[in-house]
Symmetry: C2
Subunit: 150 residues, 2 copies
């Protein structure tokens, strides 16, 4: 397989990113790949925030993965900054290719480079394969995640 | 009891905030209330970021609680912005006073006012009372939380 490039997302990547968000058992019901307007607005908001890193993985000119890293400064743990990984998606063609591992390694390295002391993420309780994957990567399943729709 | 005021944290609140972070079964091992230097640096970083809201609850001129709300713009769920609640601490004297409920109501309202479609938080698996509290508040325990120290 040709080389993989992990780079900041650009506006023109949005159709490919949204298609990946929608191609998912949970995402299928919540996305609107036929209308990119809300995603363009959100993309501009993300781009203005230096603590948000939205990246894509590109192989042979094609976007095959996406991930969002958020840097969260905080007081606890002696003023530690943590990072939060959200919205990890791998194109169906790339599953099992090691891209997930490469992506998480990138997120961990980038977090370290930016001075974070902790990387954290939550995963829907139904994503059992993802949980095993994160534990293999060295994450500790130490927390419960609570959500409330507004 | 006198009225409670929830307001943005100020630099002079730091000793009271750090004391609450340290007065906690998990926090006791990870904080350094005798040296505020790292907390001051982190406070300045927090204050510069418009997506970070560090607040305190004050009663009769005394800081009795703290909470951090982070706004995270994102592409998923049609470009939805979510909020994350971190570092909730209630002074020992105030436990059972309803401050936790007031605080979470504030976080939910503030998130709604700022256009968030979701509020989320993680809680250490050992904080069983907190889990019951969040479920009573209407949060759904839908996720597992993974962390990795760097």
């Amino acid at each position: 397989m040709s080389d993989l490039d992990i780079r900041p997302a650009r506006r023109e990547d949005l159709p490919a990113i949204v298609a990946m968000l929608a191609d998912d058992p949970l995402g299928a019901q919540r996305e609107s790949p036929d209308d990119l307007t809300p995603y363009l607005t959100a993309f501009d908001r993300l781009s203005e925030d230096p603590n948000q890193l939205l990246v894509v993985a590109e192989r042979a000119g094609r976007v095959v993965g996406t991930l969002q890293l958020t840097l969260v400064p905080g007081l606890s743990r002696k003023g530690m900054t943590r990072s939060i990984v959200e919205a990890v998606r791998i194109h169906a063609d790339e599953r099992g290719s090691g891209l997930g591992t490469r992506f998480m390694e990138w997120a961990i390295e980038e977090s370290r480079d930016r001075g974070c002391g902790l990387v954290q993420l939550t995963s829907d309780a139904s994503r059992v394969d993802a949980h095993r994957f994160y534990e293999r990567m060295g994450f500790e399943r130490s927390h419960l995640g609570f959500k409330m729709n507004l």
